[in-house]
Structure formats: C-alpha cells, structure tokens
Amino acid sequence: MKMGTMKQLLLLTDGCSNTGEDPVAMAAFARRQGITVNVIGIVDGHGNDPGLEEIEAIAKAGGGESRIVQAASLSETVVNVTRQAMTGTIYSIINEELRGILNKEANVESLPPATRSEIAEKVEDISEEAELQLLVLTDMSASMKLKLPAVKEALYDLSVSMQSRIGPSSFSLWTFPGKYSAAEERIGWTNHAGKLAESFPQLLSGGITPTGPAIRQALSSFIEMGRYDEKSI
C-alpha cells in the first residue's frame, strides 16, 4: 500500500469559541480536504465546562481524536493523540477499501483476529514511515495564561517523539486570536520539530476566542504547502 502525506491539525484550547464561524463546520471542511483535526481541551478543575462538548464535536467532525486533560498531563496526551490520529487515518483508509471490496458495512473488525494482526503490523509500519505534516494551533486567549508553560513543555515533548520517527515530518505553529486577523502563523513549515517549543511565544493575545475562523485560516497553510507537494492523499 502506497501512502501519501498524513496531514494533521492539532488544536489546543481551554473552552468555548465565541466569535465567527462554527468551528465544527470548519473541522468538517478540513476533513474534506484530507486534513484530520484533533482537539485537546485543557481544563482547570474536574471539567464541566460548557466548552467540552464543542471540543468533542470539533474532533468528531474533523475525523480525529479528542481528549480533555488537566495541564499537568498535557505532555503525554499530545504525543498519544498525534500517534493515535496517525493510525486512525490509516485505518479509515483501509476501512474504505474494505467497503469497496466486501460490503457497505464492512470494516477491519469484520475480519478475523489473525488478519487484523497482520493489518496492524502494516499500519504501524506506515505510520512510522509515512510523511507527516502537523500544524499546531494554540489558543492564546487570556484564560490560557497559566497553562502556557504546560503547552510549551508538551510541544517540546512532542518534538522529541517526532524526531525519533523514521519518516519525514514537518511542523508549523499558529496561534489565535491574531493581532490583525483571527489567527497568525508563528512558525512556518519546518522540518525541525524543536522549533515548536523553542520559539513558543510567551505573550497572550487577548480576550476573544475565534476558534472557527482560526481553523479556517490555518487550513490555508496546508493548501499553500500542497502547491509544492502534489502527492498528498
């Protein structure tokens, strides 16, 4: 099986969007472009914030994973979500193929366990070796203030795991709200994962949380990247 580039958008936020387009619709839009949207919600207490439902809905529409965590366990979560989303993307492609061969309801689970193990081995190979483009989109609204050190640490941790991958990876960091627009690019596409944490900005941006528009703007970055690279999924 030949695999193109895996494209992921990882959204780190602590709550409700409050302005602009619906982030769930934007995530669905991303998915149609072949980009998986994963969301990690960072909470203070035991998490009954109204924003949590939105977090799940965004990831669901974006075909990705969602987690709600406290700042302390952010590091492990960021790595795991990225990893699981990669295998998830590959599995969903396999499921589509199976539906073409077998029937409309078929998926990997309709195969016997021994066959599944063989598939799992291939999936692991692919997710380790395929090219990955990962865009991290971080909420920098006022309420994130105390969580920023944890975000920086998590990005460092992520970069360490990504550097240990066999396949090529590129990274980009966006934050929102931006000074002049919904979101702004902080680090353009680079192969050096380390830059994510090194140049992570320490200054907050402001009060509004335009999650939807921010996703839309960040997507443009993948599209520009795609002009140079035509072999995406």
Binding site: V108, P113, R116, I119, A120
Partner: protein
C-alpha cells in the same frame, strides 16, 4: 476513551470466532487502553484483556514476537484473540498466560533496600532476552513487571514494546529518557537501560525522584545520598548517560562494582564507625555471593 466493555465476576464471555467460553474471576489490572481480567476456561486459567481493536491487534503482535525462543518468553504467552458480540456491538479481546506474583513495588515493600539491586539484576536479565529479539520494553513502570516464583522478572504489559529503531510506543514520563532531557525516545537498548536505572532509584525514593523529574543532576544526588544505591553509583550514572549499548555489559559492570565496593568500604573509613562498617562489608559480601549464585544459575 471509546466504549469499553465492563465485565463482572462470574460472567461468561463467549468468543465470536472460536466459540470458546471464559468465566470472569476478577479484575487484575486497568490501564489507559484496556482492562485485564483473570478468567478460567477449558484450557485453565488465563488473563483476558479487553481493548480497542487496534490495541488488541498490535499487542497480539508484540506477544507473538516475544515467543521466538521456543518454550520461553520474557512476556506472557499469547493464547488467542477474539471478539465478544453483544447486541451488534463488537468488543475485541485477547487471552494470554496468567503470570502470578507480586509487581515490583509490592515485592520490595517490607524488604531490605538491597533488594532493589537484586531486582535490577533480574530486570537486566529480562531486558537481555527482550533485546535479543530486537525489541525494547519502552514503558518501564514497576506495575508492568512481575516477580515470578522462579525468581525472574517478566513483563505483564506489552503495550510499550517497540521494534528497534522506531519511536517508543508507550512510556511513563518518570522512566522516560526524553523527559529527563537525557536523550531521544528512539527504541534502542540504552533507552531501556536508562529506564531500568531510574526504576531502581524510584523503587526506594519514589517521591524524591518525582520531584527531580527532568533534572538528571538532582537524580544523581538522590543516588549519592542513599547508602545502598551508592554501592552501584558508577553503573547507574553510566546508564543515565546512555553509556551501555546492551544489558549484558551493564549487568557485568554492576557485579564488578559490587566486588570493588566491598574492598573499598573495608579499607577507607574513619574509626568509630567500625561496627557499622563491618556489618556493611558483610552485607555487601553476602549480596555479591547471592548475585553470583543467580548468575551461575
């Protein structure tokens, strides 16, 4: 987490593919990606793990990869994988050998601190055989290992087992080389040896190690301030610096280190501590003897 199946004691689990029936006895473990139960079936007792389909498939592969040596495995033997089907929903599970015994930190509770060094030696023996198969353990938390009645350490969770050269699949920050900023997360023997060294320190001084996380110098200070760990300080420090590229050489130096420490303590300390010293020398000697016995075994 995705919908996970919760079984209760006494419940019968019938496999969709094999038709085999397993009776749940009790829950024996719960992790991020699944629940493990002790079950009994026609073939006897076994451990049954419910997890999502991808985890079941990849853990099945990890378990079978460990069985290359006939009749032996550093982990549990794989029995079979199957699905439970209830009202159209599929709950994948697999069965493996039930390894009975205490986990590392339970084993050492109430024992003398010197046992941590014995555990390290057993752990290195385990890693030797795992590395020979081309895999690393990855997640070196004490809950993942059991001390068997045959006085060996075996793995009971294989979720972190990763082929050499890849990025480690699963890890716990406390035992992770990258979290201590002491190297990469690439699967290689030195990654596990680093984790094994931290594990040894954490078995005795868990809280202090947790506070030190990320600062390797602080970790070395914990080693220096512990009378037992001092004995093997050079070996631990070499492991922290990823200086060993295989478990055998670390084990060898660990044993040599013992022998040297014994003579040094006898010669070099002040008077007034002689009673204490004599006791120490005897202890170290006894320890070395025990260790030699295990090696010859």
């Amino acid at each position: 987490m995705k919908n996970q199946y919760e079984a209760s004691p006494g419940e019968l689990i019938k496999g969709k593919w094999t038709g085999h029936v397993w009776r749940i006895e009790r829950e024996i473990g719960r992790g991020a990606n699944g629940v493990v139960y002790l079950v009994s079936g026609a073939a006897g007792r076994a451990a049954l793990k419910f997890a999502d389909s991808a985890s079941v498939a990849s853990e099945t592969n990890a378990l079978t990869a460990l069985e290359r040596v006939r009749g032996e495995s550093p982990g549990p033997f794989f029995i079979e994988a199957d699905d439970l089907e209830i009202k159209g929903a599929i709950y994948p599970f697999f069965l493996m050998e039930f390894i009975d015994g205490p986990v590392l930190h339970t084993f050492i509770k109430g024992k003398r601190e010197e046992w941590s060094i014995i555990l390290l030696i057993w752990l290195l023996t385990f890693l030797e055989s795992l590395h020979q198969l081309g895999h690393v353990m990855g997640d070196l938390k004490p809950e993942n290992f059991i001390v068997t009645a045959q006085k060996a350490v075996r793995a009971v969770d294989v979720g972190g087992i990763t082929k050499f050269g890849r990025s480690v699949k699963e890890y716990t920050a406390l035992y992770d080389r990258a979290a201590w900023q002491a190297g990469t997360r690439r699967a290689e023997p030195a990654y596990d040896l680093f984790g094994a060294a931290v594990l040894t320190v954490a078995l005795l001084h868990k809280q202090a190690v947790q506070r030190a996380l990320g600062d390797i110098e602080e970790l070395k200070k914990i080693v220096q301030s512990s009378p037992v760990l001092q004995l093997i300080e050079p070996v631990l420090c070499n492991a922290f610096a990823s200086k060993y590229d295989n478990a055998s050489s670390m084990k060898k130096e660990l044993l040599l280190c013992f022998a040297k420490t014994k003579t040094r303590t006898r010669a070099g300390r002040k008077k007034g501590k002689t009673f204490f010293l004599g006791k120490w020398a005897m202890l170290a000697g006894a320890l070395a003897a025990i260790v030699m016995l295990f090696l010859l075994n």
